[in-house]
Every structure is written in C-alpha cells, then in structure tokens.
C-alpha cells in the first residue's frame, strides 16, 4: 500500500524532476478501481498536493499549477518537434519578448543559428506576428541592451571561409582597449564591442577570440566580467556545444527556475537534428555523466521517452 502511494506520488512529480509518469498513473487507476478509500488514503498521504479541510482533502492551487506545467512538458515537446524549425525559433523569440523574460533566448537563437536559419526564423516571425523581430526587440528591450540585441538579431553574417587574420588581430586589440576604457557597466553599449560582435562573420570572431587569448593571456570572457549578455554572446559564437551543455545542466540543478527548466526542452529539440552528438560528448566531459543517464534519472514518463529518443542512444 505504502509502496503504491510512493509510486503514484512520484508519478505526479511528487519527488521532483521533469514530466509525469503517465503509465504508472493509468496502472493505479486500474488497480484502485472502485476503491475510493484507497484514493482517500492517498490524498491524506500526499500533503504537498492536498490539504485536509473539514472532511475533505482539497487540492492546493500552487500544486495544480505545477502539475499543469509538468503535464504540458510532453505536449510541448511533441508540438515543437513537429513544428518547422523557423516557426519554433520565431515563437520562442516572440514569447520571451512579450513576457519580459531574460533575453538569453534571443541571444541563443541569434548566435547559434546559421545565417539562413536566422533569416528563415525572421521570415516566420513576420508571417506570424505582422512585425519584424528587429522592431519588436528594439521596442520591448531596454535601451542599454537594445544596441547589442537588435544588432545580433538583425545580423546576416558572411559564412564563407575567408578570414582577414590581420584585421582579426587588430580587432582583438581594439576589443581589449574598449574593455579597458569603458566602465564595466557600459561594456554592453560600447560601439566597438557591439560592432565587432554583431557584424563580423563567426569564423572571423573565432579568430579574434583566439588572438585575444594569445595577445592578452586570458580568454575574453574573463575580461567581460559580470556582463552575462556579452558572455553568452561570446560563448554561443565560439563554443555553442559548451553553451548548450551548460544550459542543459542548469535545468537539472537543484532549485532551477521555470525558465532554466524550459531550456531543457528547447535545447534538445532545437539541436537534436543539428549537433546533438557533439553536445553529448561535451556534456559528458564537462559534468562526468552521460546526458542520457542524467535524463533517465531526472525525468518521467512520455516526456522522458521523447527526450531520450531525441538525444539518441
């Protein structure tokens, strides 16, 4: 009896983790058929979900909301899986902007997609929302971040192999001077930094970051300090697999917030057909555990199965 209660509690996400264990729930429905007392005992045992008021055990509103989120994870991942990648990206960007969530999503999409993919996302955005993504970003995002973000989102970078190494060295030096001269709070508005990060090709930028480390003895991220937007921009351009691997890990951390958790679905869906193998390797190296094992440990039900299939065995 007690075991069954535990099992069902876990199925309803009573022990944390992502998603719900649909199979167990249905199994219990069968087992406890015509046994209202059984259910009654369960409700009294499940204090996170139910509070006894008088002679009934009432649902907690908070928990109902949490359940809604957990039940939706499978629905979300399936719908997203079917959607065209451009529409996915467009919807993610739109969602973030209009709810004033941190714009890491915008930076992620603007910097990790190819020029063609980003253009496609922008076209989808226009078709869906009758606005360009640039105008919405410029309008909704606070002025000091807006230069960088509008620049990143409107970029249509050269994707060929040609790199001007001399210019890259020059710009590595220019970045260093800009970082030294601007106050740390002002880095994100610095014209040189924004120009270089938002217009140069990714190959060119990788060359810049390499020269930066050679010339100044440390990676540019160290000099960017607490500037999360700039850090993220650099990471997404220079080492996207590491960025994604860390985003996944943040989702699994104790006390992760809603936005961090949503990242799990987003990263796995958007990268499943692109660079999942590299991400898995990076994850394993960085955190000492296989991504598949982490997913198996921390997620439930159909959501778990979908994730494992996307991640590939």
């Amino acid at each position: 009896m007690a075991d069954e209660n535990q099992l069902l509690k876990k199925a309803f996400s009573g022990h944390g983790g992502f998603g719900v264990d649909e199979a167990t729930m249905v199994a219990m429905v069968t087992k406890w058929r015509r046994q209202p007392d059984q259910k009654s005992r369960f409700r009294r045992d499940f204090s996170e979900f139910f509070t006894t008021i008088g002679s009934i055990e009432k649902c907690e509103d908070d928990y109902l909301l949490r359940l809604k989120t957990e039940f939706s994870r499978f629905k979300n991942i399936m719908v997203l899986w079917l959607m065209h990648p451009w529409e996915r990206d467009a919807r993610w960007m739109h969602h973030v902007m209009h709810k004033s969530y941190p714009f890491t999503v915008i930076i992620e999409i603007a910097c990790t997609r190819s020029s063609e993919e980003l253009l496609g996302a922008k076209r989808a955005y226009q078709a869906l929302f009758d606005h360009s993504v640039e105008e919405d970003v410029a309008y909704h995002i606070k002025e000091n971040y807006s230069k960088l973000l509008v620049g990143l989102v409107s970029s249509f970078r050269y994707e060929g192999s040609q790199v001007d190494n001399e210019m890259a060295k020059c710009e590595a030096k220019a970045l260093n001077s800009a970082i030294k001269s601007a106050g740390s709070g002002k880095l994100i508005q610095n014209e040189e930094i924004v120009r270089i990060l938002t217009t140069r090709s990714k190959r060119h930028l990788k060359a810049i970051f390499k020269h930066y480390k050679e010339l100044h003895g440390k990676p540019i991220e160290e000099d960017l300090g607490a500037n999360l937007c700039l850090q993220e921009t650099v990471k997404c351009i220079d080492r996207p697999a590491k960025y994604f691997s860390e985003a996944i890990n943040n989702a699994f951390k104790e006390g992760a917030d809603k936005q961090s958790k949503i990242a799990l679905t987003r990263v796995i869906i958007s990268r499943a057909d692109v660079d999942m193998e590299v991400i898995k390797e990076t994850y394993h190296k960085q955190f000492g555990i296989k991504l598949e094992d982490m997913i198996t440990k921390n997620t439930h039900g159909h959501y778990k199965d979908a994730l494992l299939s996307l991640v590939g065995k």
């Binding site: 253009l119 409107s154 217009t199």
Partner: protein
C-alpha cells in the same frame, strides 16, 4: 516604368556578341554599335551576351570593354552590364571604400529597396567581397553616421501592409519630441526609422504632418548645415517617396556647376530599367526642360550618347 527600349524581337545573344566583337576589332572602337547593342538590352539579355561572348571568343567581355574604351563612358558601360542587384552591390562597395564615404549610395540602397531586394544585394555583396555589407558599413563609419547607416542597412523589415495607427501617432510624437530638442541622433529616431515597416513609417509620417502641420523632412531642415540631418532627410525621403527624391537628386546634380559624372551615372543606370519614366515626368514639370536636354547640356561624346540612349532617346 523603365525607359530603355528593347527591339522586339531582340537579336539573339550570339548575334549581339558578334556585333560587339566586330565593334572591338580593328583600329579604334565602334562606340555607336556598342551603345546600340548594350543600351537596348535588359539585364537577362546582357547576362546572356556576357556568357556567349566569353564562350565564343575566350575572353571576358568586361575585360575587353575596359581595354577598348575609357573614362566616364567606360565606367558607365561597365556598370551597366551587371544586373541591378550586382550593380548595387558593386556601387555599395565603391561608396564604402572611397576616400570620402558616399552616404547617399548606401542610404538609397538601404531605403528604396524592398526588404527582399535589399537582402539580395547583401547576398551578392557577400559572394563578391567575402564580407557582409553590414560589417563593411560598420567598420568604415563612426559615431552617429555609423549608428544610423548600420541600422538602416542591417534591418530586415516586415514587408506587409498591416499598420497600427495608434502606434503611428505615438511614434510621430516621439519623433517630434526628439526633433524639437534638436536631438537628431536620438536613439528613438534611429529605432523607429530603421525597424518599422515602410507601411507603418508612412503612416507615422502622415500622423506627424497632421499633428505638426508640416512634414517631418521640413522639421529636419536646419538653418546651419547639419550633415547628419541631411542624411536623415534623405533616408526618410527614400522611404516615403523615392521618385520625388530622385527627381530632386537629378535636379541638384544637373543644376550645379561642373558635372558629377559618378552620381549621374549611378542615377541613370539604376533607374533606366526601373522607374526613370516617372522621374523624367517629375523632372520636366519642375524644370521646364526634359531630362534628355539637361543631360545633353552637361555631358559630351560617347558618354552622353550612352546616357541618352538609356534615358529613352
């Protein structure tokens, strides 16, 4: 409407290539034949001639032309052979790399073209120069000019007809607030001009006129010369009424002392296969002279004959 006249049926590309070959052979060059052929073919036909000429005679048509003729005539014929998209990419690069950055060229390309036309120019630019148009504009300009031009060139506007009148009124007011304070480089002006769709902007300009009893370009006219305001006005005019804008540029170019062949060439070549007919009509209404007469007064020789052939003589 275009002003170039194409014979119907047009001779085949082989015939044309042969005619040109004959024009190059022997002493000197038969410029009349060159003009006869090239000034009366559309972009697709010119492309074919280029291909066929190279196949037949194993030399590049452009290289031959460069060695046969010279001066303004040569420059005009050279640029004319390209299709409009390539030509704009080439002119953009010339404008960027010249000793003094040629702002009107970039403004015109960024503001007159539809979003997809601008995108096409950017794609060709990348394949020609192995860098993006944005990165070249950004690295060759500074300060306010950089802010404005980079924003205008980098954007991918919503192309539809949906407008929001309330928003237009609000943004007309924002524009007015910045203009009355004399803050032409205000971030809000740049945001609105560079991100909103053309339909939305034209609504905004109308709201501005209704509210302030004068057009926004009038409001941006300053007593003391202000280069930035000039560029701003040009951008607005290009978006609002391009034909009127080009009529004005023609008049300015043809009425000042001396002759600015580079600008004249650009104007005629860009519009001859597009909308020179309407611009001609405006020109005649404003000056009581036909465009042909005005151009004939200012130019001579083969260059003159070539321009007149394109203008529709």
């Amino acid at each position: 409407m275009a002003t170039i006249s194409i014979p119907n049926p047009a001779p085949s590309a082989i015939e044309d290539a042969e005619k040109l070959r004959k024009a190059f052979q022997g002493w000197g060059t038969d410029e009349m034949t060159m003009i006869d052929v090239l000034a009366h073919r559309n972009a697709a036909q010119r492309k074919q001639i280029k291909i066929v000429y190279e196949e037949q005679y194993e030399e590049k048509l452009l290289k031959r032309i460069e060695s046969e003729i010279s001066g303004h005539f040569e420059r005009a014929v050279y640029l004319w052979i390209f299709d409009p998209v390539e030509r704009q990419a080439i002119m953009a690069n010339i404008a960027i790399e010249s000793k003094v950055f040629d702002f009107p060229v970039i403004i015109e390309i960024a503001c007159v073209n539809s979003p997809n036309e601008l995108l096409a120019v950017k794609q060709v630019y990348q394949s020609l120069y192995k860098r993006s148009l944005e990165e070249d504009v950004a690295s060759h300009t500074t300060g306010d000019f950089c802010k404005l031009l980079f924003a205008l060139v980098g954007t991918y506007r919503y192309d539809g007809e949906e407008i929001n009148t309330e928003l237009a009124n609000t943004e007309a007011k924002i524009l007015n607030d910045a203009i009355t304070k004399g803050q032409f480089n205000d971030n809000e002006i740049i945001r609105i001009l560079s991100t909103r769709s053309k339909a939305q902007l034209n609504t905004t300009f109308n709201c501005y006129k209704d509210a302030q009893n004068r057009s926004i370009t009038k409001a941006l006219s300053t007593e003391t010369p202000n280069d930035f305001a000039i560029v701003l006005r040009a951008a607005i005019r290009c978006m609002n009424n391009p034909k009127k804008y080009f009529d004005k540029v023609f008049r300015r170019t043809l009425q000042k002392s001396g002759t600015d062949e580079d600008t004249l060439t650009r104007l005629v070549l860009t519009h001859a296969e597009k909308d020179l007919k309407e611009i001609k009509e405006l020109f005649q209404t404003r000056t009581n002279m036909t465009l042909e007469q005005a151009v004939a007064k200012k130019t001579s020789g083969d260059y003159k004959n070539f321009l007149l052939a394109l203008i529709g003589n």
